[in-house]
Each structure stands twice: as C-alpha cells, then as structure tokens.
C-alpha cells in the first residue's frame, strides 16, 4: 500500500513541472526580461558610487538591503540559541524507550593510533594560522572582491572545528569556548550590527543610513566604515554560532577515545 502511494506521488510530482510550470518564467539570459531591467539597472549603474563598494553584491547586501542582513544574522544567533536550549535538558533515563548500553566493558582498548606516517599536530598548527589569515583577508577584502562577513566568520569557525575535531582533548586548544560563552559572543556580534543602526539614528539619520554615522567622515569613508562595522558583527556572530551549534551537538556524542567519566553521565 505504502509503495503504491509512493509511486503515485512520484508520478504526480514528475507531472507537475511539465504542465503547471510550463512557460511561465522568462527566458534565461534575456537582457530585456523584467528582472534584468527595472531595479537591476539602477543597482549596476549607481551602487558603486553610492556605497563605495566595487563588489555590487556586498553593496546591496550590506547597504541597500542592510536591514535584511541584520535579521539574517539574527537568524544565525537564533539557531545557536535554539540548539543550546533544546539540548540543555536531557530526557529522564528511566523514561527513555531504549536505554543506551554502556559500551565501556565491551570495547577493546585500541591504544594509540597505529598510523604514524603523518604528524597531525604539525599539519594542524600549519593550517590553522593560514585559515585565520585567510578569514581576515576575506573580511577586509569583502567589499572589493568576493567574500564578506559571513564567509569570514564561517572560515574562522572551520578553523576552530579542525582544531577541536582532529585531536579531541589531547592538546591545548587554540581558543576554548564552551557553548554558553560562544552564545554570548554571538549575541554581542549581532548587537554590533544593531548598534550600527542605532548609531546612525543618533547621528540624526534613518536606521542604517551610513552617511549620518557620527564619526565626521566623508560620504565614501562613512559608507566603507559602516559596511566594515556590520561585517565585523556578522563575522563574530557567524563564527560564534558555528562553534555553539558544534559544541551543543558534540556534548551529546560519545567518542571512542573519550575519558570514561563523560560517558557515564550520559
């Protein structure tokens, strides 16, 4: 029964795109289609002068539609907060349907890893600074070429993940963040973004109107300063959120080489 239903659904789903969505979208690559003319032309012709950012995508993302990005960052913070809160309480061990077995007695002692051809610690110490420098490059260079706050934050988060995951608990960490601290940092990162909006309002402008930043800068400088400020907020928030979600999920995972104490409280 279930299989028949599944096949019927598959057929319907294959038929929908052929009939329903036939010929309702404009031809791809047509320079005169509606999305390529109305607002797009204005952005291409004016965004570089108005936002002082040669990368038009960053100009739109951080300046014209900066308010969207503020809440995109909030969504990231919210995801971290949600993951931490959901995983902050465990179900009562007696009320579980399948009580997890204690694997300690069954597991043979593996001892030290057998593969010793590559010294992983050296590789890590080589990689991490490079990744961080690259993240800084992506952050500062975001308006000129590709990249921006989000990518920089994600690369920083990845550096942390590599640091934590390859040799867990054996080496002194690059920077240790538990999930509570990481969450606070994420909140502060998004707060920097919101603060930029508040600063422009205290300067007498509308929200996120970078011309009115109260630093006494010229038009081009103030836009660059505003974009850098919000990108800083995005970088911090994204980095902290990636670390938060990782920590929240990793708190529940039992690794093969964990110390015994951590398994028993699970």
């Amino acid at each position: 029964m279930r299989k028949v239903l599944a096949i019927i659904t598959l057929v319907i789903i294959l038929l929908i795109p052929t009939f329903l969505f036939d010929g309702i979208m404009p031809s791809i690559g047509d320079p005169n289609s509606a999305p390529n003319t109305h607002v797009s032309d204005y952005y291409i012709e004016n965004s570089v002068e108005m936002t002082n950012s040669p990368n038009m995508v960053t100009g739109i993302l951080a300046d014209f539609r900066g308010f969207d990005t503020m809440f995109e960052t909030t969504v990231m913070f919210l995801a971290g907060l949600g993951a931490v809160l959901i995983l902050s309480n465990r179900p009562n061990i007696k009320k579980r349907f399948i009580i997890p077995r204690n694997y300690i007695k069954q597991r043979p002692n593996i001892g030290a890893p057998r593969y010793k051809t590559i010294n992983k610690d050296v590789m890590i110490t080589l990689f991490e600074p490079l990744m961080m420098i690259y993240a800084a490059y992506v952050y500062f260079h975001g308006e000129i070429s590709l990249g921006g706050g989000f990518q920089a934050g994600a690369v920083l988060g990845l550096a942390y993940i590599i640091d934590v995951m390859i040799v867990p608990g054996r080496r002194k960490k690059l920077f240790a963040l538990d999930k509570g601290n990481a969450l606070s940092i994420g909140g502060i990162g998004t707060f920097i973004y919101a603060l930029t909006g508040i600063l422009t309002m205290t300067g007498g402008g509308l929200c996120l109107e970078y011309d009115k930043l109260p630093f006494g800068l010229s038009h081009a400088e103030s836009h660059s300063a505003g974009i850098l400020m919000i990108e800083l907020g995005v970088t911090i928030c994204v980095m902290a959120t990636i670390i938060t979600i990782l920590n929240a999920i990793m708190g529940r995972v039992r690794f093969d080489d964990d110390p015994i104490k951590r398994r028993e409280d699970a």
Binding site: L146, F150, Q151, A154, V155, L246, I249, M250, V253, R254
Partner: protein, 80 residues
C-alpha cells in the same frame, strides 16, 4: 550561451544524487553523498555567474556536513 549545456549536465548530476539520497539505505553514505551534492551545487553557482553564493555554499557545505556526521554518531546508521 554554452554555459547552458554545462548547467543542464550539472543539474542532471544533481538529480541523480538526489535519487541516490532518497533511495539510499546507509545513512553515512547518504550524508557523504549530500556533501558531494553541495560540492556540485557550488560548481553550478559558479557557472551561473554567482561566485559570492558559490563561496558561501562551499563553506556551508563543509559545516553542515560536519554537523550531519556529528549527529550521525548518536544515531543508528542503517535505515529500514
């Protein structure tokens, strides 16, 4: 525009990957195949002329694959 052929080919690869994911039984395989899905997606973004989006997708693909594999450690690997 020759890039349309490339787009079509990449989309066909993506559809194949999606079918593998839907009918796969081993969750670890599914996750790794999903990682390759986001890799092909990144190429498709570049072909479509959106390098910014491709950069983001490259980073996100790695991060979400790591999350999926971490979650997989708590979850039984085989599906029904």
């Amino acid at each position: 525009m020759p890039s349309l052929f490339l787009e079509a080919v990449l989309l066909l690869i993506l559809i194949g990957i999606t079918l593998t994911i839907i009918f796969g039984k081993d969750l670890l395989t599914v996750t790794i195949v999903y990682c390759s899905f986001s890799f092909v997606t990144m190429f498709l973004y570049i072909v479509m002329g959106a390098p910014d989006v491709a950069f983001t997708e490259a980073v996100i693909g790695v991060v979400s694959t790591i999350y999926f594999i971490m979650t997989l450690k708590t979850i039984r690997r085989h599906t029904k």
